[in-house]
C-alpha cells in the first residue's frame, strides 16, 4: 500500500511485494509463453540473435516491422507551417490529423495547428467535395488564416478526389468569403514515398501556386532562397538563417517553421512566424535557390530548375565539410568573402574536434534516419574518425542517394567496413546489431527498444524524439550545430565509459576524473 509520506507512481508501486504477487498470480490465466514456459522464451530470444534468424529476417518481402519513416501528409503539415498565418488543411479523415498533431506535439512539446474536413463513409461514396466546401469556409471563419494549405490523405487519393477542381468549386460557392485567403493544394498520397515526399509535394505546390508564370519573372540578382527541408531541429533553422544573414539580408528561407514550434509562455498564438506570403509569392524572382535537403526537394527542384529556369543548388550543412560547402556556396552566390565571424566559428569547431577525437576515433556506429540527415551525420562521423558500420535508411530514395553516401564513405579509413542498408526497417537493424555489433546507435526514439534488447547505447539524434526534452531546440547544422553533435556524441561515449568502469574495486581504476 502507498506510504502517504512517500507516494510513488507506477514505476515503484508495482515493485512492492503485494503487486509482484498480483502479477505472478495473473500468469495462471495468461497465454503468452513467458507465463507458460519461460525457457522457451529464452530459447527463441537467443535464436533471434543468430545469423540464421538474420537471413530469415532479411528475406522478408511483405511485412514491415518497426519502420523508420512516416507518411506523406505529415511532411505536408510541416511544410505548411513554414508559412506565416497558414493553416494546414488535410482533405480526408480527422483521425489522420489527430495523429499528425499528436506526433509533432510530442516531439516539439508545442501545439500543432491543423484541420481536416472530416471525410467519412458518405464522402467515400460521393467524394469529398461537400466536405471541402464547408471545410474551407469553416476553417477560414474560425482560424482566419492568410493561407490554407490543403494536403490529402490516402482515403481522398484512393477515391480520386480532384483537388484543384474541388478548391475552385469551393471558392466559387463561398459567397466571396474565400476571396482573401490563399488556398494552395498538394496531392500527398500516403502510399507513395514517405513524409519527406509529402514535404516536397507541399513546398512545390505552394511555390507553384503562389508564384506568377515564368514569363513574369523579374530576376532579383541579390535574392537567394533557402529551402530547409523536413527539419526537426529548430535550432538548425535559426543557425542557417544566422549564417545566411552574415552574407546578405536578401537571403530568404522558404518554409521556415522555426517560430511556429517555439513560442513563449504567456499567451497562446495559433500562428507564429513563418515565411511571409510576400516572400513566398516572389520566390520565382530569386537568382538562386539552395535546398538543404536534396532528397526532400526532388520534385520542388524540377519546378525551380525546369519551369522557373532559376539556379538550383543543394548543400547539406551538417558536419564540418557540409557546412564549409554551404558557406562557400553562399560566398559564391553573394560574391562576398567568408565573414571573419564564420571563420572563427569554424576554427573553434575544428579545435573542439581536435580536443575530443580520441573518443570517437575507431568507434563503430549504427545510424538510421532520413536520407539527407544520414548524409550529414555520416559525413561528420567520418570526419571524426568514427566508423559508420551500419547506415540504415528506410525511406531511401531510388536514385542517387546510395552513390552520394558511397562518396562520403570513400573518405573513411574504414570504408570497407561500412554498410548501407536501403529500405530496411528497425527489425532488420536489430539483426544487424546482434550479428555485427557496434559501439553506439544513433537515431530517434524508436531506437530505445534496440538499446534495451542489445545493450548498445542509443544517442538520440533524429525525429521523432518523444522521451527526451528540448533536443529539438538545438542546432545540428552549421559550425555550432556540428559542435552540438560533437558534444552529444563524445559525452555519450564518456558516459558509457563511466558506466563500464564504475564497479568499485573491480574496474574503477579506469573510472577517471579527467578524460
Amino acid at each position: 500500500m502507498q506510504n502517504v509520506e512517500q507516494i510513488v507512481n507506477g514505476q515503484k508501486l508495482f515493485l512492492k511485494p503485494e503487486y509482484q504477487e498480483v502479477l505472478k498470480n495473473k500468469k495462471e490465466f495468461e497465454s503468452n509463453m513467458g507465463s507458460i514456459d519461460p525457457s522457451k522464451v529464452d530459447e527463441i530470444a537467443e535464436w533471434t540473435k543468430s545469423w540464421d534468424y538474420r537471413e530469415k529476417n532479411f528475406s522478408r518481402e511483405a511485412i514491415t516491422v518497426n519502420p523508420a519513416k512516416a507518411c506523406q501528409p505529415l511532411g505536408a503539415v510541416m511544410a505548411s507551417l513554414g508559412f506565416e498565418n497558414t493553416m494546414p488543411y488535410v482533405h480526408g479523415s480527422h483521425g489522420c490529423v489527430a495523429y499528425f498533431r499528436s506526433y509533432f506535439t510530442r516531439h516539439f512539446k508545442e501545439p500543432t495547428p491543423c484541420v481536416s474536413d472530416s471525410m467519412s463513409e458518405s464522402a467515400a461514396v460521393f467524394g469529398g467535395l461537400a466536405n471541402m466546401k464547408d471545410g474551407l469556409r469553416n476553417c477560414n471563419a474560425m482560424y482566419k488564416p492568410d493561407m490554407i494549405a490543403v494536403s490529402t490523405t490516402c482515403m481522398a487519393e484512393v477515391i480520386g478526389d480532384d483537388l484543384n477542381a474541388f478548391v475552385q468549386g469551393a471558392i466559387e460557392e463561398a459567397e466571396g468569403e474565400l476571396d482573401n485567403v490563399a488556398i494552395t493544394h498538394a496531392h500527398t498520397p500516403s502510399f507513395v514515398g514517405s513524409h519527406i515526399t509529402g514535404y516536397d509535394n507541399m513546398i512545390k505546390s505552394i511555390l507553384e501556386q503562389l508564384n506568377p508564370d515564368v514569363s513574369q519573372r523579374v530576376v532579383d540578382e541579390e535574392r537567394i532562397n533557402i529551402i530547409p527541408g523536413f527539419e526537426p531541429y529548430l535550432g538548425s533553422l535559426a543557425e542557417v538563417k544566422e549564417i545566411a544573414a552574415m552574407f546578405s539580408d536578401k537571403i530568404v528561407m522558404i518554409g521556415d517553421h522555426e517560430a511556429q514550434w517555439n513560442t513563449g509562455a504567456g499567451e497562446y498564438q495559433l500562428y507564429s512566424g513563418g515565411t511571409t506570403l510576400a516572400d513566398a509569392k516572389t520566390a520565382i524572382n530569386a537568382k538562386a535557390t539552395i535546398s538543404l535537403q536534396k532528397y526532400s526537394t526532388v520534385q520542388t527542384a524540377k519546378t525551380i530548375k525546369n519551369i522557373w529556369k532559376q539556379e538550383y543548388v543543394t548543400a547539406n550543412p551538417i558536419g564540418l565539410g557540409g557546412t564549409d560547402a554551404f558557406v562557400m556556396k553562399l560566398s559564391e552566390l553573394t560574391g562576398k568573402p567568408v565573414p571573419e565571424e564564420l571563420k572563427k566559428l569554424r576554427a573553434q569547431l575544428v579545435d573542439a574536434m581536435q580536443d575530443s577525437y580520441p573518443y570517437m576515433h575507431g568507434k563503430k556506429f549504427a545510424i538510421y534516419g532520413d536520407p539527407d540527415f544520414l548524409l550529414g551525420l555520416v559525413s561528420f562521423i567520418v570526419e571524426m574518425g568514427g566508423i559508420p558500420t551500419h547506415i540504415l535508411c528506410h525511406n531511401a530514395p531510388r536514385k542517387g542517394w546510395e552513390d552520394d553516401m558511397k562518396k562520403i564513405l570513400s573518405k573513411s579509413l574504414w570504408k570497407d567496413e561500412c554498410n548501407i542498408w536501403a529500405n530496411k526497417d528497425l527489425w532488420h537493424l536489430r539483426s544487424l546489431l546482434f550479428t555485427e555489433p557496434v559501439d553506439f546507435l544513433i537515431g530517434n526514439v524508436y531506437g530505445k527498444e534496440l538499446y534495451r534488447d542489445t545493450g548498445i547505447p542509443l544517442i538520440r539524434i533524429g525525429f521523432p524524439i518523444f522521451d527526451r526534452h528540448h533536443l529539438h531546440r538545438y542546432s545540428i547544422s552549421g559550425y555550432k550545430g556540428a559542435l552540438n553533435l560533437l558534444t552529444w556524441i563524445t559525452n555519450a561515449v564518456l558516459d558509457q565509459l563511466d558506466e563500464e568502469t564504475k564497479n568499485i574495486a573491480q574496474t574503477d581504476y579506469f573510472f577517471d576524473c579527467v578524460r
Binding site: 507512481n9 508501486l13 519513416k69 505529415l74 480527422h94 490529423v97 481536416s116 467515400a124 469553416n138 482515403m155
Partner: protein, 488 residues
C-alpha cells in the same frame, strides 16, 4: 462564484462562440453545447447531440475507427501481433504512445509496443493487397513463432479498393491453426474512434468468443470475475485487480490492457463481468450476457468515494464472506486515502477544473476531483453517445458546461471565459493551455504518471494534481518588468 453567476457565465460563453460562427456551423454546434446542473430536469446531459459527424474544417480532437480498434481495443492484447494493414503512417503515429502496460518479452512472446505494417505502395492500391497480406502473415509466423494469433487492422484504403481481408484471414487461420482475425476498422468509418470500438468488439464476438478450447478444462470458482474495458494505462488494471483479489474474488481475465488471447477466450467463464470503460466495451459485455449468461455491472475506480461505492456494489453480487472481506479492504485503504486527502485537500480545495477527454473519463474522474475538494465546471466527450451524457448527469454536482466533440477554438474560448484553475485533456491541447499559464494534466496518458485506478492510485492522482496546481513554474510567466497580468 455563486451558482447562478457560474451558469450565466457558461451560457454566455456558448452564446459568444455561436455568434462568431457562420450560420450553418452555428446551427450545428448549438446542438452539441449546453449547460446542465443536478437541479435541471432536462439539461444538456439529456438533450445534447452526440456521436454525429464532425463539422468539416475545424480542429477536432477526435480520432478514427482504426484508432478505436487498433489503438484502443486490440492493440493492447499482448501475445497477439496486430498488423496495421495499409500505408505506413497509421501504425507509426499510434506506436507505443498509449502506455498500455504489460509484462512480457517484447518481440519474442509479446508485441504491444511494436509496429507491424504492410507498408502499402501504389502497386498494392492498384492491384490489391491480399497477396501481400497473406505473405505478411506467413512471414510473421516464421519470425515470431510465439505469437498466439494475428489481427489485421484495416486502414482507410482497404475498404475502398475491394480487398477481401476476411478471406485471407480465414485461409491463414486454416493454414497456421492460429487465430487470424481481420478487422474492417477503416478510419473513414463512422464519426470517431467509437465505431472502431464497436467493430473491434464485434470481431472479438465472432472470432474469439466461439473458441472454447481454453474454456473446456477451465476450473471455475464461484468468485471468478473479469475486468472488461481497462486498458492498463500506466498500470490501472493492476492497481484495480489487487483490490478485487483482496476482496476474495478471482480475476480470470483483464481486457484488454495486459491481456492475452487466453484471457479473452475464458472471460465467458466469469460469474460477473466488471465493466470500466462502458463506451468501448459495452457491446461485448452485452454479448457475453446474451450468449453465455454472464451478467455485467459498471464500476468506477477513480477516487476513494467512487471506488468504495463500486467495491460494495460488486460485493453485493457475491456472498457474505466477500462482503465482509470487502469492508476490511475498504477500511484498510480508507485509512490511507484519508491521510492523502488530509495532506492534499487543503491545497486544492475549491479549485475549478475543466475536462475534455474520451471514453469514461469525462464523468468517471469527477468524483476523484471532488474527493480533493476540486470542482468540475465543464466536461465533454470526444466520442460519447447519448447514454454517456445521461450517465454524466448523475456525476455532476453544480452547473456544468457540457460540450460534445468540442474543437480547439471552442475549448480555448470556454477556458478563457470560465478561467478554471486546471485543464485536464489530451496532448494536442496540453501546450495551448500551458502557454496561457494554466496548469494542465493529460488525462489520456496520465501525463506519463499513473496508475489512476484504485486506492493506491488515488494517492498518485492527488500528488499529481498538487504537483500541477502548485508548481512554482506557473508564477514565472509574468516578468518583473510586466505591469499587466499575463496568461489566462
Amino acid at each position: 462564484m455563486g451558482p447562478l453567476n457560474l451558469e450565466n457565465l457558461q451560457k454566455e460563453a456558448i452564446a459568444e462562440i455561436l455568434e462568431s460562427y457562420p450560420e450553418k456551423l452555428s446551427k450545428n454546434r448549438a446542438k452539441h453545447l449546453g449547460v446542465d446542473s443536478p437541479e435541471e430536469s432536462k439539461g444538456a446531459c439529456d438533450t445534447s447531440r452526440s456521436n454525429k459527424q464532425t463539422v468539416p474544417g475545424v480542429m477536432s480532437q477526435r480520432g478514427c475507427a482504426y484508432a478505436g480498434s487498433k489503438g484502443v481495443v486490440w492493440g493492447p492484447v499482448k501475445d497477439m501481433i496486430h498488423i496495421s494493414h495499409g500505408p505506413i503512417g497509421c501504425g507509426q503515429y499510434s506506436r507505443a504512445g498509449r502506455r498500455n502496460y504489460y509484462i512480457g518479452t517484447t518481440g519474442i512472446d509479446t508485441f504491444v509496443t511494436m509496429n507491424f505494417s504492410t507498408d502499402f505502395t501504389e502497386k498494392d492500391i492498384v492491384f490489391g493487397g491480399d497477396k501481400k497480406l497473406k505473405k505478411a502473415l506467413e512471414e510473421i509466423d516464421v519470425l515470431f513463432p510465439l505469437n498466439n494469433g494475428i489481427s489485421i487492422q484495416s486502414e482507410c484504403p482497404i475498404g475502398l479498393i475491394g480487398d477481401d481481408i476476411h478471406a485471407v484471414a480465414k485461409k491463414h487461420k486454416a493454414d497456421s491453426a492460429k487465430p487470424t482475425i481481420a478487422v474492417s476498422c477503416e478510419g473513414f468509418r463512422g464519426v470517431s474512434q467509437s465505431l472502431g470500438h464497436h467493430i473491434a468488439n464485434d470481431m472479438i464476438r465472432d472470432e474469439i468468443m466461439p473458441d472454447d478450447s481454453a474454456r473446456k478444462d477451465f476450473e471455475s470458482t464461484p468468485y471468478d470475475v473479469a475486468i472488461v474495458g481497462d486498458y492498463n494505462i500506466g498500470g490501472d488494471a493492476w492497481s484495480s485487480r489487487i483490490l478485487l483479489e483482496e476482496m476474495g474474488l478471482r480475476v480470470i481475465a483483464q481486457w484488454s490492457g495486459d491481456a492475452t488471447y487466453k484471457e479473452m477466450a475464458i472471460a465467458p467463464k466469469a460469474k460477473l463481468n466488471l465493466l470500466h470503460c462502458y463506451r468501448s466495451m459495452n457491446y461485448i459485455a452485452r454479448h457475453m450476457e446474451q450468449e453465455f449468461g454472464v451478467p455485467w455491472i459498471e464500476y468506477n475506480f477513480f477516487g476513494p468515494t467512487k471506488t468504495t461505492e463500486s467495491l460494495r456494489k460488486i460485493a453485493a453480487c457475491f456472498d457474505e464472506t466477500v462482503q465482509a472481506k470487502t469492508e476490511e479492504v475498504i477500511a484498510k485503504y480508507t485509512a490511507m486515502t484519508d491521510q492523502v486527502i488530509a495532506k492534499y485537500r487543503p491545497k486544492l480545495e475549491g479549485k475549478t477544473v475543466m475536462l475534455y477527454v474520451g471514453g469514461l473519463r469525462p464523468r468517471h474522474v469527477i468524483g476523484a476531483y471532488e474527493d480533493l475538494g476540486m470542482e468540475v465546471v465543464g466536461t465533454g466527450y470526444e466520442f460519447g453517445h447519448g447514454d454517456d451524457y445521461k450517465r454524466t448527469k448523475e456525476e455532476i454536482s453544480r452547473s456544468t458546461l457540457i460540450y460534445d466533440d468540442v474543437n480547439e477554438y471552442e475549448l480555448e474560448a470556454f477556458v478563457k471565459k470560465l478561467k478554471p484553475d486546471l485543464v485536464a485533456s489530451g496532448v494536442k491541447e496540453k501546450y495551448v493551455f500551458q502557454k496561457m499559464g494554466l496548469p494542465f494534466r493529460q488525462m489520456h496518458s496520465w501525463d506519463y504518471s499513473g496508475p489512476y485506478h484504485g486506492y493506491d492510485a488515488f494517492a498518485i492522482f492527488a500528488k499529481d494534481m498538487d504537483l500541477a496546481m502548485n508548481s512554482p513554474v506557473w508564477s514565472h510567466t509574468k516578468a518583473p518588468w510586466d505591469t499587466e497580468e499575463k496568461g489566462a
